[in-house]
Symmetry: C2
Subunit: 335 residues, 2 copies
């Protein structure tokens, strides 16, 4: 692909039809999309369905360990999976700035198609809009996803109970630090890769072993700290975690010190928090550790009764502090 995206690529005429046909439909290639209708049709069984959406505005578009295309698949697959659901299909809406290089668009779409194929979740329908130069920022992608919850599974953020175990599937902060390392204005060099990955196969294993898991959630924007606070508020409980039990890569810890960030507040895109009954904790942890995406899974704490719904942390130094929603700087456009 040569050249650049121009306004005719979003105009509803021949240029758009050609771009959709030769770039998008070719890359995403699947029976539902290939119908070329205003909507994709497919059969579903009766049951509990979930639906989710996320917009992706990450900057830069390409980062160590992924790009906006793979991220837009992983992130939305993960929000479906956090209900314990099996993802069925994705939609993808593209908003492209006039002048965007077609070669970059192709690279992103190919990466998205690869992530979709690897996850086994097809992009069945899409849309292409173009805005004038200066009215966007290269490319924004919004994906929606649907999936089916296996019978008997009832995972929800309001189901954590005092006494439940709090597990996480791996190291914290990798994605956010990998993206920050690419921002021109920061210009520090690291070998840290984003953890961007689709978690649904690990979740399926966890559910098979322990269908009674109470809560699953992926600690994306706001990191572990924000996500634990969300769950504590929703369930009306408190939590106690131990800083020393939270796995953080030494390189990530180092970069965070340099940037004045706390890894507990940095976004992840391939990690999950699991809250389950104490009796299930060991076996769920074992299942996570047996999966390639859960090698560094760890138990980090316990839920407890607390009318203030505080997330408390025993610090590395042995003190106690409240882990609030967001401390330190904002990290804009990390996803």
């Amino acid at each position: 692909a040569h050249g650049r995206v121009d306004l005719t690529h979003g105009g509803g005429g021949r240029a758009m039809a050609q771009l959709v046909e030769e770039l998008f439909i070719k890359a995403f290639d699947n029976p539902a999309l290939n119908q070329r209708n205003d909507q994709a049709a497919f059969d579903v069984p009766a049951g509990r369905m979930v639906m989710t959406t996320d917009g992706y505005v990450i900057s830069p578009l390409f980062f160590p360990g992924g790009d906006i295309g793979s991220l837009a698949v992983h992130g939305t697959v993960n929000d479906v999976a956090m209900a314990g659901a099996v993802p069925l299909s994705l939609s993808a809406g593209f908003i492209i700035e006039e002048g965007f290089p077609l070669a970059d668009l192709k690279r992103i779409v190919d990466s998205m198609a690869r992530a979709s194929r690897e996850a086994g979740v097809p992009v069945v329908t899409g849309d292409t809009k173009v805005v004038e130069k200066g009215k966007g920022d290269g490319i924004f992608i919004t994906t929606a996803g649907i999936g089916m919850v296996p019978p008997g599974v009832e995972i929800s953020g309001d189901k954590a109970q005092a006494g439940d175990a709090i597990l996480i599937s791996g190291t914290m902060g990798d994605h956010g630090v990998a993206v920050m390392s690419q921002r021109e204005s920061l210009g520090f060099e690291t070998d840290i890769l984003s953890d961007s990955a689709a978690l649904h196969t690990m979740v399926a294993e966890m559910i098979k072993t322990s269908p009674g898991i109470h809560v699953l959630r992926d600690p994306t924007r706001g990191g572990l700290a924000a996500t634990l606070n969300e769950i504590a508020t929703q369930s009306g409980i408190g939590m106690l975690i131990e800083e020393n039990l939270v796995p953080v890569r030494p390189e990530v810890r180092g970069a965070c010190e340099l940037l004045g960030l706390d890894p507990l507040y940095v976004a992840n895109e391939g990690k999950l928090i699991c809250i389950c009954a104490e009796a299930d904790a060991e076996v769920v942890l074992a299942v996570m550790r047996a999966h390639p995406l859960g090698e560094n899974a760890a138990r980090i704490g316990t839920c407890r009764a607390d009318s203030h719904h505080f997330v408390q942390m025993k610090t590395g130094m042995g003190g106690m502090r409240v882990v609030d929603w967001l401390a330190g700087e904002q990290l804009p456009r990390i996803c």
Copy 2:
């Protein structure tokens, strides 16, 4: 709501949680969204499901007869309905530019909530991202929609046959001209309203009477001309339409002459094309005309065998011409 959207509203911290809670969840209010999970859960019956998505980047955001919020509901409901499907639920991803007035955001969200309530299709899940000033254009909204196709209905763009009747549900060009009339640089005044509307109740009536309808499609970007060409290509047929049979409001015709546009190429957001067997044409037309959104429905032509898949038109002057995909100027950001 006072003030402006800032980067913290997309940061994953307390400011975002508060905006989502007090603005979005309050306005869209429904059981699935109110679960406040990463995904919305609801029960579905077994059957044929459809999924669709559209990004909305319209400029200006407010126009006679609607705004980006109502449009984002109507447009996606319509793409679901064009399969003959009953819309079930919507997702909504917001990409907001830093500095956008909260009062405008509230106006848009309220309008979107009203359109969703009136259509009976809830917004069950959403997402909120904020980009820096100068990296967006006020607000972009991407909605996805799902729905269920009634048993026995098999509507698709590849099902038009030689001899089929071509019907449209009303006047052409109202939406595009209403939006163009608001563009500052054009500065002409009209009373033309956008036709933006949800067509699923009219489609339900049509399907009830004639479950064997072959094709439904809404003539959005590229207008009637582009959409007929799409269908002709997909079905491998030709078409013959009559210019004098295509309803166009006199004000729209006048504005088009002023702007050098052909109403056949101007976008609609509350109209549909229906292609059905000759034997069904009269009754389907009667059902459309009995619906408030189909008062001006008309038969405009007939499908025929043509290995070139040309859309031919008998012009008002009595001549014949090929109606190609897109003639004249582009109309960027009309939806």
